[in-house]
């Protein structure tokens, strides 16, 4: 029982950054833009968050600065792909490489310097043996859940969300009706950047209380993949993120030699999220409606005829 609770709490913690980053990417892709720079933006958010936390000790300011760093990086991406119509795939990859390198450079003097983790927002309930499953988390976990609902509501129920979907579905038509495709996409890309930044900042603020090079460890890529698995739907994304969190947590317990889990070598556990990625991908592509749910203009630069 205790172990189950402990595992569940770890799962939520590990899933939260993936979920936040994936939610941002979902909005970006729904607007028709494919930003593969999530991993890079997360690392920039992570270093920015860490540095601010290290110097000010204010976790919320650190998260905010992480968001700002991610958003700034996404603006570069936006400028290249939206204003200059550069290839989105190539630019996204470049952004990831840039983010990895720049964060390593900026963080070189901060390695092995610990900071304090964010504390749970319900400190009294967080120590309760059972209720901590629900109340034992710091701010980002609840923020992520709230955003799942908020983004679903935005896309499904608001006019702005409808316009965003329309732009991703048929940019030329949206343009001819009179919507500014580029402007909508800039907003989406900036939102995605901010979410990736927050997700990155979660690593030093909620998971491992220090800076380490490349500390997001490919989670940005899993977030990108999750968006596809979830067929661009926020609530499916929630399920997918927790599922991946579960698999990653299993790896930790297997490494720690935790009972029956260690029957399987930890290397295999480590590979599992990626194997699961492939498995889900295959399952999804077998199902028709999921793949056709892709925004029709995804990844295509907007080229109005005049």
């Amino acid at each position: 029982m205790d172990l189950t609770i402990a595992i569940l709490v770890t799962v939520v913690g590990a899933s939260t950054p993936i979920l936040i980053a994936a939610l941002g990417e979902l909005v970006v892709e729904r607007s028709g833009v494919l930003n593969l720079g999530v991993e890079g933006m997360m690392l920039l958010g992570a270093i920015a968050g860490f540095v601010v936390q290290f110097h000010t000790g204010n976790h919320y300011l650190a998260l905010l600065c992480g968001a700002a760093a991610g958003m700034a990086a996404s603006l570069i991406f936006g400028f290249l792909t939206l204003s200059l119509s550069a290839n989105q795939t190539a630019t996204g990859l470049a952004l990831t490489i840039f983010g990895t390198g720049f964060s390593a450079l900026a963080g070189a003097s901060y390695s092995a310097r610990p900071v304090a983790l964010m504390s749970p927002i319900f400190p009294d309930l967080a120590t309760h043996p059972v209720l901590r499953v629900l109340f034992g988390y710091s701010f980002p976990a609840y923020f992520a859940l709230f955003m799942v609902f908020a983004i679903w509501f935005f896309l499904k129920k608001t006019r702005a969300g409808l316009i965003l979907r329309a732009v991703g579905e048929n940019d030329l038509s949206a343009h001819s009706i009179g919507y500014s495709v580029i402007q909508v996409r800039y907003f989406a890309v900036m939102f995605g950047g901010a979410m990736a930044g927050v997700a990155g900042a979660c690593f030093p603020l909620t998971l491992t209380p220090q800076w380490a090079e490349g500390m997001t460890a490919g989670r940005g890529w899993i977030a990108v993949a999750l968006v596809v698995f979830a067929s661009w739907r926020p609530f499916r994304l929630l399920g997918g993120a927790y599922l991946f969190g579960l698999v990653m947590t299993m790896e930790l317990y297997a490494k720690a030699g935790g009972g029956p889990l260690s029957a399987i070598p930890s290397e295999l556990w480590a590979a599992l999220p990626y194997i699961a990625t492939i498995a889900v991908l295959v399952l999804i592509s077998l199902r028709r409606d999921a793949s056709t749910n892709a925004p029709a203009c995804l990844g295509k630069p907007f080229m109005p005829s005049n």
Partner: protein, 505 residues
């Protein structure tokens, strides 16, 4: 009362093309005003400026007497201008309701919007389910969305850019009823079309453009289709030159008891069809759309392969079991009705599109490598001979206007000099001048000894072009007879399914 819309000296220059050159005309309240012209005459460009999608380089637009600048489509809608586009600007993955909501500038709660949509649909007899996803709708239904969307704004001017090129005759009739009703209520309509008989039936005034210049404003009811066509192309319309008293050679294409299986829900299969086309002969297949024409074309081209080798023979050789490529090698070329996506790949260059169908007959592939020089030369020849308006062999097929793409596709097949050519709707969406050129090329090909099958819904075209005629109805083909022996009434009866003794004649 001032004119609803008045244009003075509207000019628009694109790189290399003067699309509109000092165009001036006026539209009165409640008037149905036709805008006529060949492909590329500048009609779409002109209305895009009225609707604010583009800005004129020079000239003035007056709206109800007042000079206005239409900065964008939103400003146009605010003035009371609605537009239904040539290519629908719909979002496939969204519902009808969401699509319409996107076109509204004011924020209307979706429940209120839905009741207003139902009201408009009721008033004008436009049936639609607001909660259907657009991807599941037919072309006619999609157009209805655009019309409802425009009508919700109570427009004073409705612009329609070639609205009927994709509609069935019944849908066209319904559309005209709606438009006449609107005009009677005082809404002006600016109507773009190639189809001159439609213009004569519907419009009060016609403005004709040629090469970006206004050449005439006339009353279409006082004109003949021919006189308007001549104004559009700026020259006398050439009659098809056919040698009199031609004799036909030996049978080239013999179809014997050809049947297909129904493939889709809406398809009509071909049922026990037999006919013979001789060298030098053009056989017309008339019929109302959806009576098995597509299945017939697919069965002949090799897209649908039957189980009887001898059901189709060329020069006595059975090709019934061959696929498209093998049939092309044997000399049978085919042009399906749908140009973009079926007859041509939109994202490919014209040159590459030529390779797709002409590679074997013209040796464009050597040892598996594409001879791009040959493809380019051939494509250049098609462009020149058929007056295709394209930048060159490297332009993508999708960048061509519908009529120009049709000219390219027809040229691509005709210049291969096939033994047998099967074409569906050879002049669909093509203007009068280009249609005459395509007709002449078909006649010349036949005169050189090819056998040709033309499937068309345009009776005038078939009567002018063909030597023999047969009528398809519910997948069954009447016996082919010399076209001169048919009266229009008789063809009409056959198209309606009255076969009578004709079948055995």
């Amino acid at each position: 009362m001032p004119n609803r819309l008045e244009l003075t000296g509207i000019t628009k220059q694109f790189p290399g093309v003067l699309a509109n050159d000092h165009v001036s005309f006026a539209v009165k309240p409640g008037e149905i005003h036709a805008l006529l012209g060949e492909n590329g005459a500048g009609k779409s460009t002109l209305v895009k400026m009225i609707y604010g999608i583009m800005q004129p380089d020079a000239g003035e637009i007056r709206w109800n007497g007042e000079p206005v600048v239409v900065a964008n489509p939103k400003a146009a809608r605010k003035l009371g201008i609605g537009m239904v586009f040539q290519h629908f600007s719909l979002f496939e993955a969204l519902t009808v309701l969401e699509n319409i909501a996107l076109g509204m500038d004011a924020k209307i709660p979706s429940r209120e919007l839905e009741s207003r949509i139902r009201e408009v649909m009721e008033t004008y007899g436009l049936a639609l389910d607001p909660h259907r996803t657009v991807a599941t709708l037919s072309v006619g239904e999609r157009q209805r969305i655009e019309i409802v969307r425009a009508l919700l704004l109570n427009p004073q001017l409705l612009i329609m850019d070639e609205p009927t090129s994709v509609l069935t005759p019944q849908e066209v009739e319904q559309l005209f009823t709606v438009l006449r009703k609107l005009a009677a209520e005082g809404c002006s309509i600016l109507y773009i079309s190639h189809k001159l008989h439609e213009i004569k039936a519907l419009c009060d005034t016609a403005t004709i453009l040629r090469g970006g210049k206004l050449v005439d404003t006339c009353d279409p009811k006082q004109e003949t289709s021919r006189s308007m066509a001549e104004k559009m192309i700026g020259a006398g319309l050439k009659d098809i030159v056919k040698a009199e008293g031609r004799t036909f050679g030996p049978p080239k294409l013999v179809v014997n008891k050809l049947s297909t299986i129904k493939t889709g829900h809406f398809d009509v299969a071909v049922d026990n069809v037999s006919f013979t086309v001789r060298a030098g002969e053009i056989l017309g297949v008339a019929g109302v759309a959806g009576n098995g024409q597509n299945a017939l074309l697919d069965a002949l081209s090799g897209e649908l392969i039957g189980d009887d080798r001898e059901a189709i023979t060329i020069d006595g050789f059975g090709i019934g079991l061959m696929n498209t490529t093998e049939r092309r090698r044997r000399g049978l070329c085919a042009v399906p009705e749908e140009r973009n996506g079926h007859a041509a790949v939109g994202d490919f260059s014209l040159s590459d599109n030529s390779v797709l169908t002409a590679r074997d007959r013209l040796g464009m592939v050597v040892l598996g490598l594409i001879n791009s020089g040959a493809a380019k030369t051939y494509t250049g020849k098609v462009i020149a001979d058929f007056a295709v308006k394209a930048l060159g062999p490297a332009s993508t097929a999708g960048s061509l206007s519908g009529g120009n793409l049709q000219k390219y596709i027809m040229g691509r097949e005709i210049l291969q000099k096939p033994t047998v050519l099967v074409v569906s709707q050879p002049t669909w969406g093509v203007d009068a001048g280009a249609a005459a050129a395509i007709h002449q090329a078909l006649v010349d090909l036949a005169a050189a000894g090819s056998a040709i099958v033309v499937i068309s819904q345009d009776l005038d075209e078939l009567r002018a072009l063909c030597d023999t005629l047969a009528v398809i109805n519910m997948g069954r083909l009447s016996a082919a007879r010399p076209v001169k022996e048919f009266s229009v009434e008789e063809i009409g009866l056959l198209m309606g399914g009255v076969h009578g003794s004709m079948e055995t004649a």
